[in-house]
Structures are given as C-alpha cells and as structure tokens.
Amino acid sequence: MRVVRLASEIDFDGWRAAARRLRAEGVSPEAIAWTAERDLFSPPPCGEGAGGGGVSAEMADSEPAPPPQPLPTRGRGFTVPTAFVDLAQAVILHRASDRLALLYRLLWRLEREPRLIDNPADPDVARARDMQKAVARAIHKMHAFVRFRLIETDPETYAAWFEPAHRVTEAAAPFFARRFTNMTWTILTPDACVAWDGQTLRVSDGVDPADAPSEDAQEELWRTYYASIFNPARLNEKMMRQEMPKRYWRNLPEARLIPQLIETAQERAAAMVAAAPSPPPDRVLKAALRHARDGAFNGDLPTSLDEVAAAVQVCRRCDLWRDATQAVPGQGPAHAPLMFVGEQPGDQEDLAGQPFVGPAGQVFDAALKEAGVPREQAFVTNAVKHFKHEPRGKRRIHKTPDRGEVTACRWWLDTERRLVRPRVIVALGATAAHAVIGRATPIAANRGRALHLPDQGQAIVTYHPSFLLRLPDADARDRAHAEFVEDLRLAGELAKLIDQGAQ
C-alpha cells in the first residue's frame, strides 16, 4: 500500500503531482491510500495557508513541493482532457473522504477510456459530477449566505463568520473581491479565512466560532424586511429548507424568526380569508367619481386626423385589437397630395405606433428615394390599422387580414381619405388595392398606369414592399424592384411632387 499525504485537504497541485507520478509508474488505484492528515512524525506542511503542497511519507520524496506548473494536460507521457482537470479541481474541494481515490481511479481509467469524461452515465463519472455539483452549490450558497457585519466605521470594515458545506472558502472569495472591491472585509471559516484590503486577497488558517464578529445594528432592519416580505398564505416550509438548508441557519441573522413565522402563518392566513372587507373611506368614493374614465369611442365621425388617431385606439369593429399593442393610424401632412396605403402594420410598426418603420418600411423608403418622392410630403397609412399575427415562441408571425377585417377597417381608411383628399392614392399590395378600389384588383394586370377613382382622384396599384423582400430569385427581385420604383415615380408625377420627365 502506498500512502500519499497531501499538504492540505484542497492541495490540488500536490495531488496532481503525485497522481501523475503514480500513473506513470503503473500503480493501480487499489494500491494507494490518500490522506491530507498530518503525520505525527513528519513536519507540518509548508508555511501558512493553502497553496503549494507536497507529497511526503511513503512517496519517499522529501523534496520540497513541486512548483505550480501549467495544468497537466501534457504531463509525463500522457494527456488528459481539460474537462477532467476542471472536474478534479472542483471535486477536491468536496468533503467526502474518498474523493481523492475517486479522482485517481478516473485518471487511471482514462488511459484505456480516453473519452470517459464525456459519458455522464458512467457511475464514477456520475459520482464525480455529483460532487462537482455539490461543490458548485456550496460556492453559490456561500456567495448567498455570508452575512457581513460592520466592525469598524472609519474606515468602514466588515467581517463575517461562515461555515461552508465544502472546503470552498478560497474558491468563493474572488466573487466578494469583485463585488466589494472598495470595502475592507474578512470572511472567517473553520477551514480558512480570507481577507480583502481593497488590493489583495489574503488567505490564512481557519478559526474558531468564538472569533465570529458580534451583531450588526442593521440586522434588526433586515429581520423586519424578512418578516414582512413573507406571505403567510403561501407557507411552504419544504421549499425553503430545500434551498436554504438548516445547516446554514445558525449564521443567518434572519433565520431566528423562522419558527415563529411558521407557527403563526396558518392563523394569519385564516384571519385574512375570514375577515369581512371594511367599507372604503368617503374620500375614495368621491375620488372614484372624479376618476371615471371616458367610455369607448362613440362612433361620431372624426373631424381631424388627430381625432382619428385617438379614436382608432378604442376601435372594436373587429377582434384584432386584442392581441395588438395599439392601432397604427396614418401619418403625414393633413392635405398631402399623395397617399400610400399598405396592408397592415407589422411587428415593429405595432410597437412603435407608426406605419412603415420595419423592414418593409426600409425597402419602401429606399424605393421612394430612388423614385425621387419625398416621403414627408405624402400621407402613409394602412388598409387595416391593427397588426394581425400569430405568436410563435418569441416571434410574431404576420397573418393576412381577412375580408371581414379589411371591410371593418375600411371605415377608418375612408375617413382618412375624406380628411386628406389626396390627388393620388397608391395601393401597395392586393389587400390595399381591394380596400382602395373596392373590388379585387390584381396587381400584375393593373400596375403601371393610373386608375380613376369615383371621387375624382387617381389610384395606382403596385407591389407591397414586403413582396420584394420575399422574392427568392434575384432576377425576379430586380425586375419587380424596378417596376416598383417606376410606379412610385409615376405616382409622384401625377401628384405633382416631382416634375414630369425630370429623370
């Protein structure tokens, strides 16, 4: 039997050096006893604190601790996966006494089974992973449950006493240094102590509970908060114990309230259920009258675009308002000579409350620019004012509005047309063409020329910009784009927003 004695319980470098040598020598796992306990007959391990570390006793090397080297992915003649090194560095912090043997057994098996670590179903790997998880949890709980106490006000100095579930004090400490960089603090535990002075972390030997700092005045406030945030109607002791195991309670100032909070919870909840509501104060009844809000839109014809914008928000002519953020009314000068009518707002328009600001809006803007039509002099709106869609995970998928929805919303479009009185209306896409002309008007057959509207105006039907976005074939896209720009230019000319033949 070979006995390997490590410098400390968490002496990873020492373990690594010994393990590397033993595997190279072909010493099988059963033939090794690992320990970190001090041998009465050998000198105490080096200096203060952890770190360093050596192999002694039966390893027969009285040489000083090997200096920390790069991790042993490339040691004497063999390599191990990085995942194993990470695993081993965590597992060694576990309090289980067989952890060192388990790690060596894994290292030993890795020689024949190089992909062992990637098999979470292997019993040794599963156990090591469990230990790794327990260590990670202990670190996390230490980050959560350390309670600093103010021990000096000038300079502000804090100290905490803590008992970690595993030997994780050193591993947990950098978190506190990052969080409380500009504070001076010490964390005392039975395994080790760490101190931060604003510059460096210093590690020293563990201490006794008697060294714990005394109570902090803020703890009374903290307990007040803890008691008040608890909802007695939802008592769930099991969940609390699972996440805040009892072993931590004695160092948590709030935990002393727990028994009483639990004991009175049922009674408090029952009293709330049983209590009759008390009549509201008089001032409230009066205020209620003052706060009565305006009802839904009353159906009167709006007389300005501002009224349209306000009234369309409470429109209930169809059901699309339910899942939409808001109605998106038209935008542009009150008497624009040119009006663009799209199909319906999309995802971005629905959020912003403005028409044509999303991807299709960008195509539209670019084409307008190419055609020389200034968008700010045109009125831009949609045939349907609410966004029709279907939720799909974190996205909303556009759905074409049906005939009923287009008809219901036509009331708004007609109101906008009546108020703006444009010389030319451009219908973008089939839905808009139908809404503007009043009957199905296929784009391909009718685009490229002015159609006469009953109200003296002219209409042009053309593609919807998102149609251009969807065309997969580059040639077809270029062709459609050119036609689209051509139609916009024609509209601009008819509306006298650009000079005829200027291009």
Partner: protein
Amino acid sequence: MAVLDIRRKLAILADAAKYDASCASSGGEKRDSVGGKGVGSTEGMGICHAYAPDGRCISLLKILLTNFCIYDCAYCINRVSSNTPRARFSVKEVVDLTLNFYKRNYIEGLFLSSGVIQSGDYTMEEMVRIAKSLRLDHDFRGYIHLKLIPEASPELAAQAGLYADRVSINIELPRDDSLKSLAPEKDVGDIKRAMGRMRLAIEDKAEPARKAPRKSFARSQSTQLIVGADEAKDGDILARSASLYGAYRLSRVYYSAFSPIPDASHRLPSARPPLLREHRLYQADWLMRFYGFAQPEIIGQGQDLDLSVDPKTAWALRNRARFPVDVNAADRETLLRVPGLGAKAVDRILLARRQARLTIDDLKRVGAVVKRARAFVVAEGWTPGAATDGEHLKARLVEPAQLSLF
C-alpha cells in the same frame, strides 16, 4: 399624520410589495466594482440571499416607494379604497437602505415599485431619482429592477431603462374585460404601448453598433399575471402569455396565485391561493419556452390544465401513439417531449449515447425521472410493452397531492 420610523415604514412597504412574484436578479450585464468607487456586481446568474418560509427567494430589496395610491384595483392591497396603513419613503431612505443591505450581502439589489401618487409622471420621476442617485452618486453596480408606471411619459420610461437592469409592467389580469372591471383606471392600451416602446428601446440599445460608447440600458422586461382573481381559464392565461412573449420579447411572465390580502375587496374570492394551479402554469410556460410546445398543444382556450399530472405528462397521455420513444435513437425535439426528461437530461443522453447504448439505470444517472419516463421510453434491455397504452397509466403517474408547491 404621525411620523413613522424607518423600521415601521419598511414593514409597511415591504408587506405591500410582497404580492409581486418577480424576484429575478439574473440577466443583467456582467460587471463588477473593480475600478469604481462604490460596491456591486452582477455576474449573469442571480443569487437568492435568503428564502422566506413561503419558499420564495429573497434576492432583491423588494419595496414600494409608497403604498398611497389613487387607483382602485380590486385585487391590490394598496388600492385607494383599502384601509391598510400607509407610508412613504424618501429618496434618501431607499438609497441608504439599499446600500446598507447590499454591503452586508443581504441582497443583490433593489426592486422598486410604487403606488401612483399625484400622477404617473410624478411617481415615475421619484423612482427614477432613486435609481439615478444609486448609480451616479454612489456608483452602485448591483441590480436594479424598476416597475414602470404605464401612463408615465415615454421619456421617463426611457430614463428608467437607463439606470435599471430590468423594467416591468404588470398586466395582472389575463383578460381585458376583467381588467376593465377590477382595475377600472388601468388602461390595457397604455400598458401594451409602454411595453412595446420598451422592447424597441431595449433592442435599439442591443444593436452592436450602438454599444460603443457603451451606455448601459435595461436588458429585459417582464410582467405578472394574477391567477384566480377572475374567471380566466388556464388556456386563456397561457394564450395571453404566448402573445406577450411574442410581442414584447419578455424574459419572463410571472404567475401569481391570487392570495388573500388584509382588507380584501368584496368583489374577489376570499380563499386560499391556488398554488398548485400556479405551479402547473409555470410548468406549461416552461414547455412553451424551452421544450418547443405551442400553447394550443398544451391546453386550448377556455380550458383548464389537469392539476393531477404535470402538463407534459398530460400531453403524452393524450398522444400515446407517439410513444414509446427510443432514447438511443430519437432526436432532441422528440426526447424533450418525453415525460421525466428535462432539457439537461436530454443533453446528457445525447452525449452519453455516443459511447454506449443507454439502459434505464443510465437514464437515472443522467438525471431523468425514471419513474415518470419508463412507460414512455425504449432503452437497452427495456421496453415498456403494453404499459404505454395501459388504462391505469395515468393513475400511476399522478403525484401525491401537495398543497405547498412553489
């Protein structure tokens, strides 16, 4: 009015805040106080610094600025018609409390909400002042979650986003008609518009082009739905969530079982909170977000979830023709739909089966709940035989009644 000491104020204003289920302190940008003047860090994963006996995580100092409120939402303890004791913090009191608690490692940061006093803008401005003071005067780098007042101006909401890691607006009631009757002054349109603006603001800041010079901005928004205060069915609630996730990219929808409150309104049920129902809703929500289920597959509108089994098991029982699934061959999407296999277990299965064919015991080791999975899977040396179609299968999968879940 008598002057209240800080402890009494804290008791009142924490008590008034506890019906908000949100506690997350995750998802902020990664930062620490190295090179700064103050304290604080956020490292992606949130930390629960304590648990109350209700099993809920205490991560943030969750308080109201004031519980005075001009509104009369029937479900709310702070409604104007309630006779609950009232208090109001000053800006400095909240700032000091946050820092004192933070330095002692009690909390991850501040979650500030408020009753509406004077006007939405006035209230929001006070809340923003607190966040601003913490960030600018004290270089506080911990987590801040601000509740937005929906009717406050977009400029104030944008300022809130500038100092907070997360903002939220509670919809509270799943159905618009119940919102109208139980919260007459709340306007669902205001709420949705504010959420819409916030999503645009968050995404705008998220664009890499605008990252430099880095100006921190809220990373996420969330909301809460109260369960059991109105007639909405589980299917309606989940449909609302699906619509909210899609529209506003919420990081979370919280479900809060309507809990009896002191001095409740006579218009609401006075009963124990439906905790199991709340738990099932969270499970269903998870299925939508991480397991590839669409809301109609889980439960239709107008219907309630089966309380006796989890929603994935309920789905599997309705779709037995899709089972058993071979754990040594099925793809990820299919495995995710097997009861008893969580997302982590599925990933480990995919890893482990590259090396060896998996047995039922292997499943246990990768973290599957074998008791629930066994009737639905084929593994090396294991086939469920007729169990998948057995008429008593459901009875065997029913969990013993637990009132105190979540």
